[in-house]
Amino acid sequence: MPGPGTTPERTVTEPTLFPTEIPQPLAFTLNHVPVVLHAKPGARLLDVLRESGHLTGTKEGCGEGECGACTILLEGKPVCSCLLLAQTVEGQDVVTIEGLAASLGARVHPLQAAFMKHMGTQCGFCAPGMLMSAAALLQDNPQPTEAEVKEALSGNLCRCTGYTRIIRAVQEAGAQLRARSDEVTEALSSEAVARALSEGDS
């Protein structure tokens, strides 16, 4: 009876490497760190991130740019990494779900916290892409209306939640990001005040 321990049947094939199959070095910034990964010229960015980059947070839901599960930020813009040839990101800035919080120098991004609070995810498979699209939106528009959130996330399919909690979470995260930047502004201005004062003293 076949089973572990028996000799597997094996067809020996000599691998023939065409130029398109030889991995090439690819230098870019991945989650705020300069990296050099190796990618075949025809490889999709999605596969390079997941396989060479060991970043499996970015998901493949359809492979043709319809579901948005593979969304990453390229130079701050949300793009489907399943539609992108890896080589095209040479020298550019790529952020995946694993680097989202670090974009703010935080351990948890306000979007992640808001998705937790409002149960913005169920099965979780769409969440990485959804969060990246939402992050891009809030970067450009920290106070989006409900209609603007819907528009920005319309390329990200979710089959579990019915979207309402996602929309609520994004709006709340926007409010927190605004508060955060207000704090920073305030901190800066009080620093400036302090500096001005000390300069005045001296």
């Binding site: 572990p4 597997p8 067809t11 948890v108 990200n156 019915g162 979207y163």
Partner: protein
């Protein structure tokens, strides 16, 4: 203060489980609350490992070659070219299966790989493993079948005709279910009004965002481990053992984080796992098999297409006297779960109405169409479209208001359902219905829509009602699968881990069960860790289906918690120097409730138990009482309890395009008790949107058994831009129920339910949606729609046929 031991823990696993004694106001600390999911953080930061994220040293990738013909004799399978294809290590056909070449979950009619005959384009000719997924797929395309074509069977309505080609030796009839109550024929002859119509409800694709997948890993002990995206590890275990011809004890199945199921990962993962296991067994290497989206569309199961001929008889005053229905269920090429889906359709065809004479015949037929399977609602959504459309048609015929007519016929305590079972109070059907009318402001809404319609030549608004009684837990015919276990361990530092046999698909099962466990042990949720579902930890719990996980696994952990408290209380009494009866577990502390009593942390008690060598692990088990049911008449106790729901849809139809926009859904659900409130609301919101897709846009185009819409470009599921406003109301029994929009109701459950009186919500959330929207669209355009989904094309056909031209002068 009342010791918790008098609460639900006093009666786990009993015939009257869960519910509080009538009149007692229970105080829960965790149950009924909202809060983060326990699996939330890893799902939101990318750590969660779905099956395609798993990797093992030496792992190969598998693909399957499937039939090019929908129905043919299979003369030969040529795998030579595939064997020589780059990267290929192993190619297997039906001849290579060491055990049974069978994967049918309900019947042994489905080969893992075709031999002699193919019956649909998903039949496998060969499976193969290669160094990469791309190489495996490329090689699969080189497998060639030699066929002798047979006439295809593509129409469920003619599949059972004697002259139709036969897919299986026994003919094309898979099964026949009946309900016989009173004398429907005679009652229809005596009826003042008879409404008879044909409804066609098409296939639906699950479209879970994560496609099907698994990894099979053989080990050096002669065992094999399957990691996979799945609902039912015990089905997978059985299938792999059967196909490999090894005992169940040598097959371990571990559920990976699963990206949605909705029924689509009930039976199909067994097939995938059997393929991967076979290849792993032969190559002695781990084998991964993950579908791409197109493969998933083409090969996995679908919600069955059904054709329902529904006849309703009533008196002039609106009293429904008879229902006669003939339901045709398109199973696809194999029985799969369609035969079980048909049972639920059969038992649900009348709806929550008092109907003395019922005759239902449910015929499930083999065809060469897409493979039918389980999908949220499990046969109920299709028949609900028919029964709710029929009530609207009756109202129209009688010149009555559809709400008023429903109220006249809705079941009340003491009434019988079609199964003949007498409903014991509380029966929340009427409460759900009237609450929905109040929330929507029914009369006002009707006036508003009429005013809008009068002012808009090209747009029509309409309102549709749908109300259902969803049978809780498994149908009586499937009760051999009704048992569930759980393993709970209290560690010496007071942290608690649990494993259950049901799976987390996204629905929140693990969080709900953690709530039950936290309540039972009086510990905070963050003290609890859940272990992935693993067949080596918990005995066979049956499938994770039928909205029953909260009830089944919830009772199982309650049983385990009761056992743990039994051994911990004496130690606590010893340490606290008090009577055991006075010991209470609450907020992570254990205390003597007598005046001036001492207390200690749960953690300290765990440590004290450890030092005294108390066994701090418990295996819980729950099996509900048997249901008595006669399949020959469809009479008896079909289900353990009923969950009622009413949805009201308000829509706007563009007469120029046939496009429907759902403006608002008002959804009232009897949930017994919302254990994890956000989870319940999330299930309803998701169910409504999925149901809306089913009602309006998700049309699977099938031509001669081939799916032409096998991707998200052609098969449209709702996006953020499609969702309606939702008003959701939970009807609960507990007077303690907190939160917005909760109807408070006195009374206690008489039915077998989940812990704390909970009823399932996964499926009831979807079932009324398509019926309500279909009724609203019909109401808006003034003509009945009898095909679901009500796509713009179908609505336009009706408008054109009836010469509705919004641009006519």
């Amino acid at each position: 203060m009342k010791p918790e031991a008098d609460g639900p823990l006093a009666t786990p696993g009993a015939a009257r489980p869960a519910g509080e004694p009538r009149g007692v106001a229970p105080t829960y600390r965790v149950v009924g609350t909202s809060g983060p999911r326990i699996d939330g953080p890893q799902k939101l930061d990318g750590r969660a490992c779905y099956v395609d994220d798993l990797s093992f040293p030496g792992m190969l990738h598998a693909a399957a070659a499937t039939s090019e013909e929908p129905h043919a004799l299979l003369l030969d399978v040529d795998v030579e070219a595939a064997r020589k294809s780059p990267g290929v290590l192993c190619v297997l056909t039906a001849e290579d299966v060491p055990g049974q070449n069978q994967v049918g979950v309900s019947r042994k009619d489905q080969p893992l790989m075709a031999r002699d005959k193919v019956r649909w384009v998903g039949d496998r000719l060969a499976i193969l493993a290669a160094e990469s997924a791309a190489e495996a797929r490329a090689a699969a395309r080189k497998v060639k079948g030699r066929y002798q074509r047979l006439p295809g069977v593509f129409d469920v309505e003619t599949a059972l005709d004697p002259e139709t080609a036969k897919l299986h030796d026994g003919g094309n009839l898979v099964s026949k279910g009946v309900v016989r109550k009173g004398d429907a024929e005679a009652a229809l002859l005596e009826a003042d009004v008879v409404i008879s119509n044909r409804y066609q409800v098409d296939w639906q694709e699950h479209a879970y965002l994560e496609t099907q997948g698994c990894v099979a890993v053989p080990d050096d002990s002669g065992a094999i481990t399957i990691h996979g995206s799945m609902q039912c590890p015990f089905y997978v275990q059985t299938a792999v053992a059967d196909v490999l011809g090894i005992p169940l004890s040598r097959v371990q199945v571990v559920q990976a984080v699963t990206g949605g199921g909705f029924g689509g990962k009930e039976d199909y993962p067994s097939e995938l796992a059997a393929c991967a296991a076979l290849l792993a067994w032969r190559t002695c290497r781990p084998v991964k098999m993950v579908f791409n989206r197109e493969e998933d569309f083409r090969l996995s199961t679908k919600r069955e297409k059904m054709v329902v001929h529904h006849t309703l008889g009533a008196k002039k005053d609106g009293t429904i006297t008879a229902v006669k229905a003939k339901i045709l269920v398109d199973a696809g090429a194999y029985a799969g779960l369609s035969v079980v889906v048909a049972e639920r359709g059969n038992s649900s065809a009348v709806g929550p109405y008092r109907v003395p004479n019922v005759q239902v015949d449910t015929l499930t037929a083999y065809t060469c169409n897409p493979f039918g399977g389980a999908f949220r609602g499990f046969g109920h959504p299709q028949v609900a479209v028919a029964h709710e459309a029929q009530v609207d048609e009756l109202a129209r015929q009688l010149g009555r208001d559809p709400a008023d007519l429903r109220l006249q016929n809705l079941v009340e305590p003491g009434d019988q359902l079609a199964s003949g079972e007498v409903l014991s109070p509380p029966v929340e059907a009427r409460l759900c219905f009237t609450t929905a009318l109040e929330r929507v402001g029914y009369e006002d809404a009707k006036r508003r829509h009429a005013a809008f319609n009068a002012a808009n030549p090209t747009k029509r608004r309409g309102l549709g009602l749908a109300t259902i009684a969803y049978g809780g837990m498994l149908h009586a015919c499937g009760q051999s699968l009704e048992g569930a276990g759980a393993l709970v361990q209290v560690h010496r530092d007071g942290s608690v881990s649990f494993a259950m046999g049901h799976t987390e698909l996204g629905q929140g099962a693990h969080t709900v069960v953690a709530h039950v466990l936290a309540e039972a042990l009086g510990i905070p949720l963050d003290a609890i860790h859940r272990v992935p579902t693993d067949t080596r930890l918990v005995p066979d719990c049956g499938p994770t289906v039928a909205s029953r996980t909260t009830a089944m696994s919830g009772h199982a952990v309650l049983d385990a918690a009761r056992q743990l408290r039994e051994v911990m209380v004496p130690v606590a009494a010893e340490v606290l120097e008090c009577w055991p009866e006075k010991v209470e577990f609450v907020h992570g502390r254990v205390r003597d409730t007598a005046p001036g009593g001492k207390e200690l942390a749960f953690r300290e008690l765990a440590q004290a138990c450890f030092l005294r060598k108390v066994h701090l692990a418990a295996s819980g088990w729950y099996a509900p009482p048997r249901k008595l049911y006669d399949p020959a008449t469809g009479q008896g106790q079909a289900y353990s309890h009923y969950a009622y729901a009413t949805h009201v849809a308000e829509v706007e139809v563009d007469l120029a395009t046939g496009q429907t926009q759902v403006l608002k859904m008002t959804c009232v659900h009897d949930v017994g008790k919302a254990i994890y409130r956000d989870g319940v609301l999330g299930q309803i919101e998701g169910g409504v949107v999925q149901g809306m897709g089913y009602a309006l846009m998700e049309r699977l185009v099938v031509k001669e058994g081939r799916i032409l819409t096998a991707n998200f470009t052609d098969y449209l599921i709702p996006t953020t831009l499609d969702i309606p406003e939702m008003d959701i109301v939970l009807v609960e029994e507990s007077p303690e129920a907190k939160g917005e929009a909760v109807v408070r109701l006195e009374g206690a459950p008489e039915q077998v339910r989940g812990p704390y009186g909970a009823k399932g919500i996964g499926e009831p959330s979807l079932i009324p949606v398509a019926p309500a929207i279909r009724n609203a669209v019909s109401n808006a355009i003034g003509f009945p729609v009898r095909l679901v989904p009500c796509t713009p094309e179908r609505v336009m056909d009706i408008l054109v046929e009836n010469k509705v031209d919004p641009y006519a002068a």
